[in-house]
């Protein structure tokens, strides 16, 4: 026993320095046998990964080009932005959404692409070229797109869903879910008021905030991914979300329907591939983008993730029931009415943050009460402590 302990202790002291070089090698994969490693940063669950007989896109890329892929994921555009700005992480390919791309372009965080290295970009449909977020089309190649619509439970919601108004209907109080991010949540209110998402008029934002505050008592919860559970179990009946997740939701509960409000407009969003200014392997990154634009790969990818592809050639390879499905490929009238997020000026962003905090917290009044209550408790505690000490001193006398 003793011997074993000693051996354990020895290994403990010697393993540490021995282990370090191993870890250094593991992280320094950039100096490799097969060439280069690129760092790819994409949304979580947003690529075909080889599960259930789908293609493992990253593996296939490595097989064809010999370039290794270090693939990591994020959960929001803001998170991606923070990571890019903080330094310490050099990504070669990132896939943010529209409004974040225009912000990145403005702040010089992404660089111009060399289209000679991305011949497959010719497959991108005309409609997706020169978008508002990248008007010269020099910085981004679209990856997927989609629209926001309303998921509803047909068992309880019998009327036709064709307007955002239904999310304010008192009949469904306590059964409504809302987005837990300011742009998407305000977007719904703005479209109901027939405002632009990208308005810089403070009054319009205030008005949208009023509308959201009015809706708040009817809302069961502000959520993102939890809508899957809540809708599937019937806990909630109405929820706005991204069309790309329709398959997942309908699979989980056949009573769930999806409708894009036709009375007002909706949000049309694009997630597109960019190369950050700090990228170390631009050519390899362009090869990766080119690979993802290959219609076969693009088709396999959107088939797995459920969102829509910006390439007709890829769309043609999808199962017919998806190609003809107005959820994924809505008719032109809807798309024409839809609007894309653009980046907002700083003061509008600030206003949006404040208003969103007010909507969610119930305004500055409530926070103040909370602080007052806490301060009260603290004072009480201090008073008790002081009193006790005082008393003890008295007793000593």
């Amino acid at each position: 026993m003793k011997k074993r302990l000693a051996a354990f202790a020895l290994s403990l002291f010697f393993l540490w320095p021995a282990a370090l070089p191993v870890s250094a090698q593991a992280s320094g994969e950039a100096a490799p046998k097969t060439g280069v490693t690129i760092n790819v940063y994409n949304w979580g669950e947003y690529i075909s990964n080889g599960v259930d007989d789908s293609i493992d896109v990253n593996k296939e890329f490595t097989r064809r080009t010999g370039i290794q892929v270090n693939y990591t994921t994020f959960e929001s555009n803001e998170n991606l932005y923070a990571k890019l700005v903080s330094g310490g992480a050099n990504y070669d390919v990132i896939i943010p959404s529209d409004y974040m791309i225009s912000k990145l372009i403005k702040e010089n965080l992404v660089q111009k692409l060399d289209y000679q290295n991305i011949p497959n970009s010719k497959y991108i449909d005309q409609d997706f070229l020169k978008p508002v977020y990248d008007p010269t089309n020099e910085y981004s190649v679209p990856y997927t797109w989609g629209v926001v619509g309303i998921f509803y439970n047909k068992k309880y919601v019998k009327e036709t869903v064709d307007s955002w108004d239904i999310l304010w209907d008192e009949k469904y109080a306590g059964k409504i879910l809302m987005f837990d991010n300011p742009r998407d949540a305000f977007g719904i209110a703005q479209k109901r008021l027939d405002f632009s998402f990208n308005s810089t008029d403070p009054n319009e934002w205030e008005e949208a905030a009023m509308l959201l505050k009015k809706q708040k008592p009817l809302v069961q919860a502000y959520v993102m991914d939890q809508i899957f559970d809540k809708m599937a179990s019937g806990e909630a009946w109405l929820a706005p979300y991204y069309a790309g997740d329709a398959a997942t939701l309908v699979d989980s509960n056949p009573d769930i329907g999806f409708a894009i409000p036709t009375k007002q407009g909706t949000n049309f969003f694009v997630d597109a591939m960019c190369i950050p200014t700090s990228a170390q392997n631009k050519a390899a990154a362009e090869a990766y983008i080119n690979f993802l634009c290959d219609p076969e790969i693009a088709a396999a990818n959107v088939d797995y993730i459920g969102y829509s592809t910006p390439e007709s050639a890829a769309k043609a390879l999808l199962p017919e029931e998806i190609q003809d499905n107005p959820i994924y490929y809505p008719p032109k009238e809807i798309l024409e009415k839809a609007e894309t997020f653009a980046t907002l000026p700083d003061d509008t962003n600030l206003l949006l943050d404040t208003l969103w905090a007010e909507v969610k917290m119930g305004g500055p009044g409530q926070t103040a009460t909370l602080i007052a209550i806490l301060a009260g408790f603290l004072l009480l505690y201090i008073a008790v402590v002081l009193y006790k000490r005082h008393k003890r001193r008295w007793d000593f006398k």
Binding site: M1, K2, L5, A6, F8, A9, L10, L12, F13, L15, W16, A19, L20, V22, S23, A24, A26, S27, N39, Y41, W43, G44, E45, Y46, N49, G50, V51, D52, D56, N58, K59, N70, Y71, T72, T73, F74, E75, S76, S86, G87, G88, A89, N90, Y91, M224, D225, F228, D229, K230, A232, S233, E235, D245, T248, L249, D251, S252, N253, S278
Partner: protein
């Protein structure tokens, strides 16, 4: 009567502690194609199968385990050495040093995370703009688990008779050997506890890893990134496996410990 009440109370406490884990385990066998936590639609092992096919989860898991292993070994080595040093200090210096050591434990994780990130980014820039990654993660994890190791080793050192070490040297044992032969066996329970603590803290950690990870992804960060779409039920399966492994490890450790005790008792009798 009081006995039933106290038993009922205890049962309730354990129920609240373990019910979530049991629900997670049950739903990891759920056949539903998408849902993990709400609708039961039959028994299946599909999430376990998919889990092992999912290269991203497996890579994240591998990173997490490598970091946990190396950082816990490192923290244990440094922490044990530090504890021995602190134990030999005078009363006042010891108190002062212990306060400094304990500070990272009460310091909010986010402060530790951000400050480590700033430091690492500074050095990474100085080194020509390399990405943070495995190395910075391991350094960060060693940093935040050190105080826990020191705290679990120090009491063992104080329980130990300080003259034992001197006696060994009196009898001609060189310092290193007398440390290994005399001191280490006395404090080894504390060292092992510290290492296990460091290991679990490292696997658990999200906040500090989030800031210091660079382009490396650990399991908690990967799971968090799934929240826009949905947390895949594969994670239920993975959590079940992790829970099972830790349960088995704990059982082995406890069984061995009780066996050791038995042997010792027998030896003493003889």
């Amino acid at each position: 009567m009081t006995k039933t009440v106290s038993r009922l109370y205890m049962a309730l406490v354990y129920l609240f502690l373990y019910a979530p884990i049991f629900i997670l385990i049950i739903f990891s066998f759920n056949d539903s194609s998408t849902m993990s936590r709400s609708v039961w639609s039959g028994f299946s092992l599909r999430w376990y199968r998919q889990l092992f096919q999912d290269r991203l989860i497996m890579e994240a898991l591998q990173n997490t385990l490598i970091i946990a292993l190396i950082s816990s070994l490192g923290a244990t080595a440094i922490g044990t050495a530090a504890a021995i040093g602190i134990n030999g200090m005078k009363r006042f210096t010891r108190k002062a040093v212990m306060n400094i050591t304990n500070f990272p434990m009460v310091n909010p994780e986010i402060v530790t995370g951000v400050s480590l990130m700033l430091l690492f980014v500074f050095f990474a820039r100085a080194m020509g703009g390399v990405s943070l990654g495995m190395v910075s993660l391991i350094l960060a994890h060693v940093t935040f688990s050190l105080p826990y190791v020191i705290l679990s080793v120090l009491p063992k050192l104080r329980q130990m008779d300080p003259h034992l070490y001197e006696a060994a040297q009196d009898l001609g044992c060189p310092p290193v050997k007398s440390f290994l032969k005399v001191v280490l066996p006395e404090i080894i329970p504390g060292v092992v506890t510290g290492m296990i603590m460091a290991f679990t803290l490292s696997i658990d950690d999200f906040v500090i890893s989030y800031f210091t990870s660079g382009t490396t992804q650990t399991l908690p960060i990967y799971i968090y990134s799934m929240t826009r779409k949905r947390i895949s039920p594969e994670i239920n399966a993975l959590s079940t496996l992790l829970f099972g492994t830790i349960l088995v490890l704990l059982l082995i450790v406890n069984v061995r410990r009780s066996k050791d005790k038995q042997q010792e008792a027998e030896r003493e009798e003889a």
